[in-house]
Symmetry: C2
Subunit: 591 residues, 2 copies
């Protein structure tokens, strides 16, 4: 029986509760959503005592399911004002899964704002809170170093830590999750959840799963057979089997630039003349030259292995190999074409604990205001350092792209629901525009990754420059993603799943063998729909309407070179993306 | 035939159009609303080319109707994201009315952001735009001094000017309107309309009405008789006839403090121990001592005469006598009890062109963050000066209370629809809470001034500490205010109107005699409902829902001393305030 660990920061009490039967098949995003929907008032102050930070491994967390160790972190978002599920790699999901914890619910708020707490969870699932005010203000790297002193002897442990940005309650702050080597370089980055953790004065969670092996299944042999089948498909598909492991996610830089959808200098062009300096190919070359690691998983059990480290000239660890979105945001969107500069910015964001996508977009908006030149990497680094110093500029920048645009009178602000757009311009890649516009999460590529059919010819093709078929494409992907995020599967499994029937079948077979219940396509898609239904209803209660499901006005009128196109998907098409919610809500008995 | 003056800032063209017949009975707020509703897309960027700044005198502008010279300025608000009608005294409304201009519509956006334009309108209604880049960055007082050089010979003229805050596109910026002596000290202050004017690069409007007398009426004798009757009622009522003229609006300081609803130190108490230092009585005493003016109208034809000047020790003009809301926001809400300090802050806001209510609330939120001590007037003045200097802190502060709270991690932010609450705490004065919550304008006391029945026993009494009757009270007042704002009548006429039947009758008689059509209670209230209906529909199109019609969550749980009460009006009661909109919209044929 999986448990919910309820951590009350008002009275510092901890309770273990059985996971309610009605949510027995929920994990990850479905479970954080169900808990936030049920327990957090839609009008709660995101940084007040009524908000809750919910941490949940996917349903397959703690198993050997390939790429099954994704972690969901949920709350009401201080950035979007809506529900948030921020999804992270790293080792925490498997650790919690093995311990048998379905979710940690952090609630309330301590009386003393100066206090800093560490939550420790041992292999038996026993938890305690201890006060460690000496950690206040430490960056994520210094924090894990300090934690190491206390836990290095305990064997295998993983961490979630909150950097200075979250402690300062800045809306751009994310939560760091440790990778298999203990580096705090995976992130529940989006939507300001670091600020929610900061509002609870929770500096770190340390999870010790030493001695535990993967959890039991209803049918072990069937599970192992399905795992084998799934892993084979992951290795077989050219994107998950070759492209991603070789170059990492940043393999996309040249591809998206070639497609004319690589947002450059605050979304003023779709191609960057300096892409070569920050591409996945260049990153690999530099890293190999310096003797860095160019291929590993962000969690154990990963078959794809798209993670890597970026190293200093002497070969020592600098930061994770910047993901495609980070290299883009801190690179092309700021007119920066030097990989070492991007790495320095990525490291600073990682140590501060702040979302790289939001920060790059924010720096670009700041550059557009004329306060800093596009391409000025040193200046950009200095601006990020101001977040740590707590200067007034740091407060503005740390609050994200929209806050920065408003402060400095910039009107071209690429946000939806107050959250910055990632590395794909929605004008020449209209399917991703539908996802940005309609996602419950604010502008978010991972919510429905249309790049598959729009650019990569995965799961069919949909012409990216036209409006036809984009809404249906995004709807299908959003539902499937809701399902994958709930199982704890990495969304990159979507590449084989969309192209290789056996891969999709294997997911159902894994979940069936694990739970002992029948999971086919219908059940899987139902899980995805239910997940999105919680989110849409929460947002509706919080006041979101169709008007929030739109791109910024300028993207309907300002043509983006080189294709010179605007976003043309109609409001009616956007409004139809969630046409299933009313029926699903009725089936679920929620409103 | 009244005309619309359409000023296109994209191509610098000016057109005169007849006022459409369907709006022949509209003026002021009804007309700015109708124009914004009809011409501005609800999803327009408030600072982009699609927003329009609409300036309209009330229907009685240019007549001798007592207190009939109020001005409406409308647009989509950069602060609230909804429709905005910001209402100002000063001399402009009568000038436009006499010239026969029903509305000025400023649209488009100049190509050169460095350009500064002045719009001149002569007595014949001819208008021209001229470029005056030398005015860039000047405060409102220096701007009117500079304008004086060009227009002092032309006889009688009035001005609207935009200070540095508006030029910097800050969401707290307002537009200054000159008083009968040419001081730029009346304001269309709320909702960031100075930023809209700034986005159009319009630095000033100069209106010359030399030689024009009050406009014609359908029945002159009947109009004059109604004017006499109305003026008598204004003089007869104790509030408009005695309280306001003697002490100005700040007569309320002691009254509201006594009632326990005087928000102190960022709405943490309802009584301020230092009220005596900033009360209307003290202001009057100081001003008389120094030889200042303690009684005049903010526009010609004002019978109430609640305006005054506050003077330096040598008797020279310093600023307008701070209104109750300004003395409160820059005083009690910041824990400041020195009238000269309040005057210095008021002057700085006036010269910068920034809303005193928003700024006081913002300084108080900033003080709560610990960055500045409550009561530190010198520090507060320095912070305001940073707006002019364009520092990073200035950008945050100038963006208002919510932006400041978010930047500095303050969660007790007293705003509704992103706009700061004025000088009445909604917990012990629940009727005003209903108005704050539900008003289309964001938190705004003038939208439905329940202080009448809640505190002053005007128009009956409704116990301010209880929820009963507040929604109905607010609804009636909001409709009546929509009507008064459309006619161009000062809302202080509501005191006699609510208590003296002849005063209400006189309004209908004035409008009837002026227009030649029959205006009774039904027609007047219909005008009010139509006004609010435009606003509610615009806001709905812009994405506002019932969730936006709520007070901040903490006001439902945090008890305010000395009464130790929370806000208890239910959501259902709030949602019923605009129950007439669907029917009115159907009658109007709009949706």
């Amino acid at each position: 029986m999986r448990t919910i660990l309820r951590v009350n920061m008002s009275d510092l009490s901890i309770k273990k509760e059985p996971l309610p039967e009605k949510w027995a098949n929920y994990g990850g995003r479905a479970l954080t959503d169900a808990l936030v929907f049920t327990e957090v008032p839609a009008d709660a102050d995101p940084l007040g005592p009524d908000n809750k930070l919910v941490i949940a491994p996917g349903l397959l967390g703690g198993t050997t399911a390939p790429n099954g160790g994704r972690l969901s972190v949920g709350a009401k978002s201080p950035l979007t004002g809506g529900i948030k599920e921020s999804n992270s790699g790293g080792q925490v999901a498997h650790a919690l899964g093995k311990i048998g914890i379905a979710a940690i619910v952090v609630e309330g708020k301590p009386a003393d704002p100066a206090a800093r707490y560490v939550l420790e969870i041992d292999p038996a699932g026993e938890a305690k809170l201890s006060r460690h005010d000496e950690l206040a203000g430490l960056g994520n790297y210094a924090t894990v170093d300090a934690l190491k002193k206390d836990w290095a002897d305990s064997g295998r442990y993983s961490t979630m830590t909150n950097g200075p940005a979250g402690e300062m309650l800045l809306s751009g702050a994310g939560i760091a999750v440790s990778d298999p080597h203990g580096y705090p370089n995976r992130f529940a980055g989006r939507g300001g959840l670091g600020a929610v953790m900061g509002s609870k004065n929770l500096k770190a969670v340390v999870i010790d799963d030493a001695g535990l092996s993967s959890i039991e299944h209803a049918d072990k042999d069937a599970f192992n057979a399905a795992v084998k089948k799934f892993a084979a498909a992951l290795r077989e598909h050219p994107v998950s089997g070759t492209g991603l492991p070789t170059y990492g996610t940043n393999v996309l830089a040249n591809i998206i630039n070639e497609a004319g959808g690589y947002p450059t200098r605050n979304f003023s062009s779709g191609q960057f003349e300096g892409v070569d300096g920050i591409s996945g190919e260049t990153m690999r070359e530099i890293t190999l030259e310096r003797g860095g690691n160019v291929k590993h998983g962000c969690h154990t059990g990963c078959v794809i292995q798209c993670s890597r480290y970026y190293v200093h000239e002497d070969g020592s660890y600098w930061t994770k190999g910047p993901e495609y979105e980070s290299a883009w945001s801190l690179g092309a969107d700021c007119g920066i074409s030097d990989m070492d500069v991007v790495a320095a910015l990525d490291r600073e964001c990682g140590d501060l604990g702040i979302d790289t996508i939001e920060m790059g977009a924010t720096l670009a908006v700041y550059m557009e205001s004329g306060k800093l030149a596009f391409g000025d990497g040193e200046g950009a680094l200095h601006v990020l350092e101001e977040i740590r110093e707590g200067t007034d500029l740091g407060k503005i920048i740390g609050s994200g792209a929209e806050a920065t645009g408003k402060a400095f009178g910039v009107t071209r602000i690429p946000v939806v629901k107050h959250q910055a757009m990632p590395a794909y311009d929605p004008r020449p890649i209209q399917g991703i525009g539908v996802t940005y516009a309609t996602s419950t999460q604010g502008a978010d590529h991972t919510a429905g990754y249309s790049i598959t059919a729009n650019v990569l010819a995965v799961g069919g093709t949909v012409d990216p420059l036209k409006s036809e078929g984009q809404a249906a494409l995004s709807q299908g992907l959003q539902i499937a993603t809701g399902m994958l995020d709930s199982l704890g599967l990495c969304i990159f499994v979507a590449f084989p799943v969309l192209d290789i029937p056996a891969a999709f079948d294997a997911i159902g077979e894994m979940v069936t063998a694990h739970t002992g219940q029948t999971w086919g396509a219908d059940e899987l898609m139902k899980l995805g729909r239910e997940t999105l239904t919680y989110e849409r209803l929460f947002n509706a209660h919080a006041g979101f309407t169709a008007a929030d499901d739109r791109l910024p006005a300028y993207m309907y009128t300002e043509k983006l070179p080189p294709h010179n196109v605007v976003f043309t998907v109609t409001d009616e098409e956007l409004d139809a993306v969630f046409d299933f919610v009313a029926e699903t809500a009725a089936e679920m008995g929620i409103s």
